[in-house]
């Protein structure tokens, strides 16, 4: 789950990485009591989770005189469709130079990977494509408490030495907070020292519980409901609902829909060993999306029993047509239950998908 800038900066500050003097506000009036501390040069940053927030008008420069008016204006705006409900008001830094530093999980080396580059505020993905040599990288063995000093020296090169401890502290945060990304961009040098001018932290979805995070904000309401039921659920923008067991099989079903010229409305993986009650919930959830015209159920029973799946489909009693492919454990019984009720069943995933695309178009 992505943390907002003010949440990420709070963590940085608690762990000894300097951040600009700043206040988190929910209305323009709240700014009044902080104006003296903020000084004359102020930056107002909308706390919305969108990329390129600055370009989209989410970051506004102000001074002491006009800050409240500008904050009011920003609160009335939408940034890439998202209403501004919270603002981080910060003292503007006297930036001399900007750097980029991030820590991610590297799949190939199976360890944290630190990226550092001279020149901050950049889009690292673009830099990686256009100037790959400008990015210095270092992998840390995940059992180490600190980044070895030599590695820090190699990473920062001729950049100011005071950046070194910042990177090591960021690594501590990365580990302690179960982060899959911890990024400071830009990391700014100023006459007052080094500051994290912007920060981004993403917490591992599998560790939200032990990090004390109760609600995953990155999920839509339906996605959250699905998660509660132990389903994986993704919303897309077509007209065919897709239910499968196992992420790979369900994804392959989506791809097959595209192959036959259709478009999936959503993706629901019921997981292993689903019983009829869960299948019923799954079918109802997928059918609750207004754009769903037809539902494909593609199940390959191993620990999932086909008769349970069949009962779940029947109990769901949804208005849309359901086209079913069942194979594996208790297949015969499952098929008999469905054919008694007049459901359309086909033998392979190619056939069910082809049929669903015909119905949907």
């Amino acid at each position: 789950m992505k943390l907002l800038e003010h949440e990420a900066k709070k963590i940085l500050k608690e762990n000894g990485i300097p951040v600009p003097v700043g206040f988190f506000i929910r209305s323009a009036d709240e700014l009044l009591s902080h104006l003296d501390e903020l000084g004359n040069s102020i930056v107002l940053k909308a706390q919305v989770d969108v990329g390129s927030r600055g370009k989209a008008g989410g970051i506004v420069m102000a001074d002491k005189r006009n800050a409240i008016a500008k904050a009011r204006e920003l609160f009335g705006k939408k940034i890439k469709g998202l209403p501004v409900r919270e603002i981080l008001a910060e003292q503007r830094l006297e930036i001399q130079h900007e750097y980029y530093v991030s820590i991610t999980v590297d799949r190939s080396s199976k360890q944290p990977l630190i990226l550092f580059t001279d020149g901050g505020g950049v889009d690292i993905e673009i830099t990686a494509k256009e100037h790959p040599d400008a990015i210095r990288k270092a992998g840390v063995i995940p059992l180490m408490r600190d980044i070895p000093p030599f590695m820090v020296r190699e990473l920062i090169g001729t950049a100011p030495k005071e950046i070194g401890p910042v990177i090591n502290k960021l690594y501590h945060i990365f580990c302690a907070k179960d982060a899959v990304l911890a990024e400071i961009n830009p990391l700014a040098t100023t006459p007052q020292g080094v500051f994290a001018a912007d920060a981004k932290i993403i917490i591992d979805d599998n560790a939200l519980n032990r990090q004390g995070i109760k609600v995953n904000r990155d999920l839509s309401e339906r996605e959250r409901e699905a998660e509660k039921n132990g389903f994986s659920y993704v919303e897309l923008d077509g007209s065919i609902g897709v239910i499968g067991n196992g992420a790979g099989l369900t994804m392959a079903t989506l791809d097959l829909i595209e192959f036959y010229g259709g478009k999936a409305a959503n993706f629901l993986d019921v997981g292993g060993g689903a019983e009829s009650g869960r299948v019923k919930d799954a079918v109802r959830l997928v059918a609750s999306v207004p754009s769903v015209k037809v539902i494909v159920v593609n199940l390959l029973g191993g620990i999932t029993r086909c008769d349970e799946v069949a009962r779940g489909i029947i109990d769901a009693e949804i208005p849309q047509k359901v086209i079913v492919r069942l194979a594996g454990t208790n297949e015969v019984e499952g098929r008999r239950l469905l054919s008694d009720k007049g459901y359309e069943m086909l033998d392979t995933m190619d056939l069910v998908v082809k049929k669903a695309v015909e119905v949907a178009t």
Partner: protein, 291 residues
């Protein structure tokens, strides 16, 4: 065979849970049918002295190894304790841990896999269905009735999609040597490269099918390494960016790891890529002709 055969003795950690108990039964049914050793002991802290399907349960892996010379553990431990269980297995001297558990925090996985590597222990998974060498050994949760013995190796990041492909191959009269589910998480122990290295040394395996999906570039890395004839399938062509497609590792991030660029890179190094799972048997047959 890679990773084990009918003589491999297996421990199950998390033996007394619902999943552990269920699959000890299935693994030992399989072992009986092929004349194999199967699961010889279970481990659950605090449950030592119990039995599961006639298999004795111990409090620790070390206790179990005092009575049984097992080399492999298949792990059904809940996510929060699974990293610890991998390290316990490695520390006790096991050669292989098959981690079935899903939703292990990625930091736990990184630490446990690094620790196991230092002890010379290989980890398959986490978040995987395990492996099956038809006629020899089943370590994990794959539905054995779909498999048939033959010369095709399979390496896959998925569970049920693997069964789909195995089913297609078996129906087409093409048997399998060993099928390995390496797991759907971003950080996994054995990757395509590691399993391919084992297949290279396995005289039974003539062709390998790689079943990949969006996220990362481990498929291409593996394919690039191997001299074996390969066929690939990549799931997730229709996956939108920044959406996790069921598996923790199935996500296109920062414009990287999307299916189309993976497929393009695989084709560039000469690997035929199946458009649909049902196209895989024909592509495999084509490579057999070339052998």
């Amino acid at each position: 065979m890679i990773y084990g055969d009918r003589n491999t003795k297996v421990l199950v950690t998390g033996a007394t849970g619902k999943q552990g108990e269920f699959h000890i039964g299935l693994m030992n049914t399989y072992a009986r049918n092929v004349g194999g050793k199967g699961v010889v002991a279970g481990v659950t802290p605090g449950k030592g002295g119990q039995q599961v399907h006639g298999v004795p349960v111990y409090n620790t892996i070390k206790d179990a190894l005092d009575d049984h010379d097992a080399t492999t553990s298949v792990l059904f431990v809940p996510a929060g304790a699974a990293g610890d269980s991998i390290m316990e297995a490695a520390n006790a001297g096991l050669e292989l841990v098959v981690a079935i558990t899903e939703h292990i925090p990625v930091h736990d996985a990184m630490k446990a896999i690094a620790f196991a590597w230092m002890q010379g222990c290989s980890v398959i998974g986490p978040n995987c269905p395990g492996l099956l060498s038809p006629g020899e050994v089943k370590m994990g949760i794959m539905p054995a009735q779909l498999f048939s013995r033959g010369n095709v190796g399979i390496i896959s990041r998925s569970g049920t999609l693997t069964y789909e492909v195995v089913d297609e191959l078996t129906r087409a009269g093409i048997g399998q040597s060993t099928v390995v589910g390496i797991g759907g998480d971003p950080v996994i122990g054995q990757t395509f490269i590691d399993v391919l290295q084992r297949f290279e040394k396995d005289t039974q395996t003539k062709v390998v099918v790689l079943i990949g999906e969006v996220g990362g570039n481990l498929e291409e890395e593996g394919a690039n390494y191997s001299d074996l004839p390969l066929v690939a399938y990549i799931a997730g062509k229709s996956a939108p960016p920044d959406k996790r497609m069921g598996h923790a590792g199935a996500i296109v991030e920062g414009g990287e790891g999307d299916a189309r660029s993976k497929i393009a890179r695989l084709k560039k190094i000469g690997v035929p890529v199946a458009e649909r799972p049902s196209d895989i048997p024909d592509l495999v047959r084509g490579l057999f002709k070339g052998c």
